[in-house]
């Protein structure tokens, strides 16, 4: 599978997961499980490239990292708003 097809596939998986009212953030492992025909390391590289292109975003708890679609589910600022300065 070439890189572009793999990237497309990753986006499809992400949209499918998020679309059905499901998860907006998923582990790399889940991506790898959904695309068993590709090498896990290639999936990692493709997903990281998608992040650089702005089509995916990271979400980290500090101990582990998940992938999400920008604008779907909780954003990077985790529902926290900066207090307005008076």
């Amino acid at each position: 599978m070439d890189k572009e097809t793999l990237k497309q596939k990753i986006l499809e998986v992400m949209q499918k997961k998020a679309g059905s009212g499901g998860k907006s953030k998923i582990y790399l492992k889940d991506l790898q499980r959904e695309i068993p025909e590709a090498n896990p390391r290639d999936i990692k590289n493709a997903a990281n490239e998608l992040v650089r292109e702005g089509k995916l975003e990271y979400f980290s708890t500090g101990s582990t990292v998940m992938y999400g679609l920008p604008g779907v589910g909780m954003g990077l600022e985790a529902g926290v708003e900066k207090p307005k300065e008076e």
């Binding site: 582990y27 492992k29 990281n48 980290s60």
Partner: protein, 432 residues
């Protein structure tokens, strides 16, 4: 800068009364000198946490700067009205130099950077080994990253499901026991695995720690998924003259480390020979000579620690590779277990890197979400991990004691005649 407001913190203030310098003093001194509201707020929130007996931090979200999947840990206060200066208080992990040697000017620059762009509070070093810069807001992150990389020539460390910043003891830079060049190995691994360090690749965290000798000053055996510990294969070098000097009281045991109290005269039998875990040492009182049965020695370092001038590690040096240590989340804490009893480590360390790739390929494919390598090994079985995954041979060194933890199990095809062979027939030929 506007007025700063100090919160009422009776419980925090009580911490100042102990015998040691207190972080409360430090933070207040700094906050007052630099008029930093964030520092007052953080102590205010901590007081509240002490009172409510629960945390007021939320974390998750921010992961790093553009293109990085780690290095920043997002942290927010859930008491934003009370403590607005710490509404966001992100942690930045900075990759420390190998063995943590700094030029004072680098530290000064780092402090200036953090005074300017952060809360001013930092922690050298976190248990991963990184420099931890505590408390900044999202808008500052890219500037911090730019300043770190362009002015200080430092980089962010690992967090999340990344390779965490590799760490090592001071190794050959100061310690004469170091059997491997820990700093070089750490530097080489850090540079070689930049992608793994900055971009999440794994089911969970992965730590590499390098200790120069079995004293294991960075606790690699307790904390690293992949522990590299220096060791030697030949005999401990003995200077009999120096041994006699220790026995006669001319040299201080442990290089004088316990000289604050009078422990009485040095007793080689009580303090060295009897404490040897494998009982492989003998002190001949008549001949005044020390004998070591090196075949039995398990390199615990005790005798070398007690008599550093008399005993030294041998010359045939390399490292033992252990895997699987972790803290207790699932199943309880685990120490690393020996996988490769001896590996010679010379630049560019291709043997080490190949082993790492093998482990990662398997773990990336078979590890579950948030499963450390140690847990994967436990799940598939150490025997299968060693034999099937890594393609290594089971060795006596994999077993702590014969017949007490026999985790090397045979597969049917490895046994002559399989499971169905006639044992009575076999015993006819081999009666004992």
């Amino acid at each position: 800068m506007g007025e700063v407001k100090k919160h009422d913190t009776p419980m925090m203030d009580e911490l100042k009364s102990g015998p040691w310098p207190s972080f409360v003093d430090d933070i207040y001194n700094y906050a007052e000198k630099h008029k930093k509201q964030a520092c007052f707020d953080i102590l205010g929130q901590m007081e509240l946490s002490y009172k409510n007996k629960e945390t007021h931090w939320k974390h998750g979200g921010i992961v790093g700067v553009f293109g990085y999947g780690g290095g920043v840990i997002g942290r927010y206060s859930d008491q934003q009205d009370k403590f607005p200066a710490i509404w966001a208080f992100h942690t930045v992990r900075v990759n420390q130099p190998a063995a943590k040697w700094y030029h004072s000017s680098a530290l000064r620059k780092l402090c200036d950077l953090w005074d300017h762009r952060g809360s001013g509070i930092m922690n050298l070093h976190g248990s991963t080994g990184d420099i931890i810069l505590l408390g900044t807001v999202t808008e500052q992150l890219e500037y911090i990253f730019y300043d770190l990389t362009h002015q200080l020539k430092m980089d962010l460390g690992g967090s999340g499901s990344n390779l965490r910043t590799p760490e090592c003891c001071m190794g050959m830079s100061r310690c004469e026991w170091s059997c491997i060049d820990t700093q070089d190995i750490t530097y080489e691994l850090t540079m070689h695995f930049q992608d793994e360090l900055h971009r999440p690749a794994f089911p969970y965290k992965f730590k590499i720690k390098v200790s120069g000798c079995p004293n294991d000053c960075v606790a690699a055996i307790a904390r690293a998924d992949f522990s590299i510990i220096g060791t030697w294969r030949d005999d401990i070098k003995i200077d009999q003259e120096a041994v006699r000097a220790y026995v006669a009281g001319e040299l201080k045991p442990n290089a004088g480390a316990h000289s604050d109290r009078d422990w009485g005269p040095f007793d080689i039998k009580k303090e060295v020979i009897d404490l040897c875990p494998t009982k492989c040492m003998f002190w001949d009182e008549g001949q005044k000579k020390l004998y070591i049965n090196n075949k039995e020695c398990n390199r615990c370092m005790h005798c070398i620690n007690v008599m550093p001038e008399a005993l030294r590690p041998g010359d045939d040096r390399g490292a033992v590779i252990l895997m699987g240590a972790k803290a207790p989340i699932l199943e309880g804490a685990q120490l690393s277990t020996v996988i490769v009893p001896f590996m010679r480590l010379e630049p560019p360390y291709d043997n080490l890197k190949n082993l790492l790739y093998k482990v990662w390929d398997y773990w990336m494919e078979n590890g579950k979400n948030r499963e450390r390598l140690g847990e994967t090994i436990q799940r598939v079985g150490l025997n299968r991990f060693i034999v099937d995954v890594l393609g290594l041979k089971p060795l006596p060194q994999h077993v702590k004691e014969p017949r007490s933890n026999p985790y090397i199990f045979w597969k049917e095809e490895e046994v002559e005649g399989g499971w169905t062979r006639d044992v009575a027939e076999f015993r006819k030929r081999h009666p004992a």
